[in-house]
């Protein structure tokens, strides 16, 4: 690789890249020519498999177990990625968890873990990389959820955290402009380990599809395409936005359903 090519090698950092949506993002970014640093929490085997896809596309992978809510661990990982790759163009914050089912089932412990992992962790991911992104005039994509836009009584803490993500994208877009763009995607029901319990249950699976005008569950790649678009220079005048990627789910309120 000549010096100029090395200079133009793009680098992305993805939190929660071992599985699901984060993994699809890692793979798509690698195919688009990025070297990728990504975190996971505990599933080292999945992380290795994701990294193998990156190296299979001829790009470099750097991955470590990092608790997304731990400021010091996140900062340490960003430093490691900086040392490994020398620059950073794109940050995608996908690490996330859901909590116990039921509006009155959330313990204070769980409020904390759901908020810290989904929302506060995204803040640390951006805070610890903002100076790198400013240098490259890079961009950030936060993974929110349509749960942050509609009523989600089954997961009140998760829904509130995801609404927080949409707000965070706006505030950080303002704070980091003009050098760095910050946007969010709000996925609907996507087939990953997070939703496997519902997908694997035929009645729940079908009930969910009935609420999706496009008539199918989402795939991690549906979301990854949107993330890649927002991260790319094609979105150079877009900041503070939340792109809904849900097969039309939020359009489908009760009076709006086909009978």
């Amino acid at each position: 690789m000549n010096a100029r090519a090395a200079d133009e090698q793009k680098v992305a950092l993805v939190t929660g890249g071992s599985r699901g949506i984060g993994r699809a993002v890692v793979v798509r970014l690698a195919r688009a020519g990025y070297d990728v640093a990504f975190t996971f929490r505990q599933d080292a085997e999945s992380a290795r498999a994701t990294a193998a896809e990156v190296t299979g596309s001829g790009r470099r992978a750097f991955y470590r177990p990092v608790d997304a809510c731990d400021e010091k661990e996140v900062a340490g990982f960003a430093a490691g990625a900086r040392e490994e790759f020398g620059r950073l163009d794109t940050v995608v914050a996908s690490a996330g968890i859901t909590g116990a089912l039921g509006w009155d089932a959330v313990s204070s412990e769980e409020w904390r873990s759901v908020f810290e992992t989904n929302l506060v962790g995204q803040y640390w991911a951006v805070r610890t990389t903002a100076s790198d992104l400013k240098k490259t005039r890079g961009s950030v994509v936060l993974v929110a959820s349509i749960g942050g836009l509609t009523a989600y009584p089954e997961q009140v803490a998760y829904a509130a955290a995801k609404a927080g993500t949409i707000s965070l994208a706006r505030s950080l877009a303002f704070a980091l402009a003009p050098e760095v763009r910050v946007n969010a995607v709000a996925p609907g029901w996507v087939r990953t380990d997070m939703t496997a319990g519902l997908y694997d249950e035929p009645r729940a699976r079908a009930a969910i599809v009935r609420g999706i005008p496009r008539g199918r569950w989402g795939e991690p790649d549906d979301v990854a395409s949107a993330v890649v678009f927002l991260a790319s220079d094609g979105a150079r005048f877009i900041t503070g936005e939340t792109l809904v990627v849900d097969g039309g789910n939020v359009l489908s309120w009760r009076a709006g359903r086909r009978r």
Partner: protein, 263 residues
């Protein structure tokens, strides 16, 4: 250094529109023209619609051919339903198919409420909202036959954020956004309908404003990204929303405004 999206937007890899025919209304100038060229770069054959500027449309079509794609031009006043229907028919019959529709034809008028006339009211609604609706309606039978059909409407930041003056334009653009959601729902699962809502973009539409140095500076300062938008800033999003990569996106309205509405 700015990221070159050519690495992400290679025809044949991602956001590809090969083997598709797309009609772009208002393709002769401004945002529509940039969209036409972006779609051609993505591999689409493009029908370039215009109203009066035949020469401008012909030269856009020529640029499409220079990119290795096919193109034709079609005239219509989008305020006239029969003309809109004729336009869509001509576009569909060109290659016997229509895979996508982008509705960029439009006009801006900014009168105060006292200055609004009946004619002015009707003009703004017919051209911006009626023109969009009747074009989509005429295109539906063609789109239903396409393998992965999609519509992208062009709203405006004034479709959801108020400005002082031009209330009818703002109401028409709000109408375009609701049209987008209503038809995304009604035409599911077959046809996707999305919208982009540009902020301040330098085109003939607002030449008076952006050529006034003071106004130009005021908008650039008010925009977090620090500048006016260019038509080329809007086009890639339209490309993404027409491509199969956005197969699970429908009813979305995407702002492209440099963050000017954030507060």
């Amino acid at each position: 250094m700015a990221f070159s999206y050519s690495t992400l937007f290679l025809p044949g890899s991602v956001f590809d529109l090969s083997d598709s025919v797309v009609l772009v209304t208002g393709g002769s100038r401004g945002i529509g023209r940039a969209v036409v060229l972006e779609l051609a770069r993505a591999g689409a054959d493009v029908v370039v619609h215009y109203h009066t500027r035949e020469e401008a449309a012909a030269s856009v079509a020529q640029e499409v051919r220079a990119l290795g794609r096919e193109s034709m031009v079609v005239a219509a006043n989008v305020a006239k339903r029969e003309q809109v229907e004729r336009m869509v028919r001509a576009a569909g019959e060109w290659k016997g198919r229509l895979d996508g529709l982008v509705t960029s034809a439009g006009v801006y008028r900014g009168p105060s409420i006292e200055e609004v006339t009946v004619e002015g009211w009707e003009e703004v609604f017919e051209k911006n909202l009626g023109g969009t609706f009747w074009a989509v309606r005429a295109a539906v039978p063609w789109l239903r036959k396409a393998p992965a059909p999609a519509v992208v409407t062009i709203s405006s930041i004034f479709g959801s954020h108020p400005g002082i003056g031009g209330a009818p334009y703002q109401m028409a653009k709000a109408g375009v956004e609701q049209l987008t959601r209503a038809l995304a729902l009604e035409l599911s699962p077959e046809i996707r309908v999305n919208s982009v809502a540009p902020g301040f973009v330098r085109t003939d539409m607002n030449r008076g404003a952006h050529e006034d140095p003071e106004f130009h500076r005021a908008i650039a300062r008010a925009t977090p990204l620090g500048r006016w938008g260019e038509p080329e800033d809007v086009a890639p999003a339209v490309r993404y929303l027409l491509s199969r990569e956005s197969d699970w996106v429908t009813g979305a309205v995407l702002g492209i405004d440099g963050g000017i509405a954030l507060r």
